[in-house]
Symmetry: C2
């Protein structure tokens, strides 16, 4: 029996007005209603705005210590610097923080959780903070986890096709603005014409992204690798519990609004068969197999946007290596890549404590 | 001393009105003027049209036996079925055929030539036909060849980001039409919205390509691999003379007009260093190294469109394998990927025969 709302845990959505926060509100409105109060927090700029959640209009309040009082679970979907400052304060005030930013993902004392793959990890959270992985990791890890469980992963080579909304609202605005500039023109056919048309207006990206692909996401890490590339390697190792897994990856931005895709070349300890791989993927939680290319069946971002699972297609055994699989995977970077995974973690946190009002006090 | 035009070899550009043919005309207009007559051939639909070449207006004639008479080198840039029918007839009439279609690339008696990598192969042409590789192969092979020569290639994992113009004029028209439909809208944010907006009007592609990426290029080959994927493997092996090279590849179409890109994970016999790899790439013919990501230097299709070389950036040693390099390479699929390579082959054929009028009679 569901307890009355007043007896249920309070959820704060911090960054409720953002690209990820907006989707969190949609998801909690459709999932089983386990929350008591749902409080919407954002910057003072948004205070007073009303947003719909569970069919009701709720007023956004500015993030401050008062707004965090009495919160059981605080789902953070704010820029890194805001998360770095406020997540520890929310935890100190008694909330379990579920953070979608990059700030805590490398902290060994903050678990990095994908509920379909390593749900147990959520319990060890000495700082009261749980991190949700990077959207690119999340877009492929639910497909990789069960294949690893069956065949034993030995090496990964990845390439990404990353949507602009993973750079937030500003990423989407930038692509839309550039698309309006290029539509109906002959741009994209002579050297530098796109760059001249777009000018310095490249938003969060280093180059024009409309009619282009940009092989650089994040900041410089080491030896020529970008921060998103090393994050994908580090997070995959950590979530799968394979600290020495060889991972090579190139992250590339593409002119897609929402929906990350990756090509995956995965080498395993044992020989693989496509039939067994398909069986595993067809039954894996959070995964949909969509794989009959001759009949036009393979996932694309346009098909998966707005959906929860990771969609897998183009499953093939490598032609020259019986231990390797190639496949293509696609997921909504705002859903499984952020809002959905974080909401699932929040639900897991509450479920682990008896599914009721005890979350905060435990 | 250059002989007078009348003494120089006759070039026929077959498919002069197409996406590739148009670029052939630009290139021969800018390269050293080694040709006598340049004859422009296309379908009867185009007969009588005038196109500019070497600063002169030349009338297009319909492809038939008369139009092929007296031709020394016939550069074919027509659909497969037209090449299959007419290339052997042109060769029988005495021309050396340089073909850009897919028809002859798998024929062991037709050399598959990249002038920077295997120029010697052009001499063995028992049928009088030389094939130019697939545009995706050409976009990366000039960078890979010299790295192989230095380090000894042992394995390749590739992912492509393929432009729509490699599907010809119809590919470009399709993307432009779809872009006009999506610009200024909110499309690309809910499941299936793009597909509904675009309708069945997907042109040569199986799915909408604007605001999307499509992991299927070509037709079904075997075991789930597409024809473009197996072609890239087969052609790379053949051009590099490595008949057993393991190659895994996923070909993906992206909403770019012109400019193919690939991510390359290359494993070699010997340990590699990034410094030595950069040195090799910086001096390799037909390659430009553009690799300082912190300063915003990496190639993108928008930078390379309309240029001749393959541009390489993001050169890194794999973090977990001292014998492996990762890099990103980008080239104009209509230039190096087709028209330029074919023109270079044509020039090689003529050069091999003394650079003069003897091409046909030799
Ligand atoms: N987008 C993705 O695909 C994705 C995936 C995984 C993880 N993430 C991470 O999720 C987080 C949010 O990303 P996003 O894409 O949703 O960004 P976004 O669209 O730019 O939204 C940012 C949110 O943070 C709020 N905010 C900004 N400054 C604040 C402050 N000083 N105090 C309180 N709230 C503040 C904004 O509120 P106002 O509206 O009031 O400015 C807005 O709600 C980031 O850490 C990002 O790295 C994003
Ligand atoms: N686009 C690329 O990036 C690329 C790269 C490598 C190789 N290729 C290959 O190059 C070839 C040409 O491709 P494209 O992209 O230039 O195609 P395209 O833009 O569709 O042009 C096709 C050309 O073939 C001519 N043609 C069609 N039917 C003919 C016939 N029955 N007799 C004579 N000419 C005929 C057309 O003449 P009309 O104008 O009179 O119809 C036109 O000039 C194809 O085999 C393609 O696979 C293309």
């Amino acid at each position: 029996m569901t307890p009355p709302r007043a007896a249920r845990p309070t959820l704060a959505v911090v960054g409720a007005t953002g690209a990820v926060g907006t989707v969190v509100l949609q998801i909690v409105s459709h999932h089983a209603d386990i929350w008591g109060e749902i409080r919407l927090l954002a910057s003072p700029r948004s205070a007073g705005r009303k947003l719909a959640v569970r069919g009701e209009e709720v007023e956004v309040v500015a993030l401050d210590e008062t707004a965090l009082a009495g919160v059981d679970v605080a789902l953070f979907a704010v820029p890194d610097r805001v998360a770095a400052q406020w997540a520890p304060l929310a935890a100190a005030a008694g909330a379990v923080v579920v953070d979608t930013s990059g700030v805590f993902r490398t902290d060994p004392e903050v678990p990095l959780v994908v509920p379909e793959v390593n749900p147990h990890a959520v319990r060890m959270r000495p700082h009261g903070i749980v991190a949700s992985p990077h959207c690119t990791t999340l877009s492929m890890i639910v497909a990789l986890g069960p294949l690893h469980a069956e065949f034993g992963l030995r090496e990964l080579v990845l390439s990404s096709y990353q949507a602009v909304s993973s750079a937030g609202r500003e990423g989407v605005r930038t692509l839309r603005r550039q698309l309006s500039l290029v539509a109906g023109t002959e741009l994209g056919t002579s050297p530098g014409d796109l760059r001249r048309a777009v000018g310095d207006d490249t938003g969060p990206f280093p180059e024009p992204v409309a009619l282009n692909v940009v092989p650089w996401a994040g900041t410089a890490d080491r030896d020529g690798w970008s921060s998103e590339e090393t994050a994908l390697r580090r997070e995959t190792r950590r979530i799968l519990g394979l600290p020495a897994l060889p991972v090579a990856v190139t992250c590339v931005r593409v002119p897609v609004v929402t929906g990350h895709a990756l090509t995956v070349h995965a080498r395993f300890e044992n020989d693989v068969t496509v039939d067994r791989a398909r069986e595993i993927l067809a039954t894996a939680p959070g995964v949909v197999l969509c794989d009959d290319p001759e009949a036009g069946e393979f996932p694309t971002p346009a098909d998966v946007v707005g959906t929860d699972p990771a969609w897998v297609g183009r499953v093939r055994r490598a032609l020259d290596d019986p231990t390797a699989l190639d496949f293509f995977v696609c997921a909504d970077n705002l859903r499984k890549g952020a809002a959905l995974n974080a909401t699932q973690i929040a639900e897991l946190v509450v479920g682990d404590r008896g599914g009721g009002g005890g979350a905060r006090g435990a």
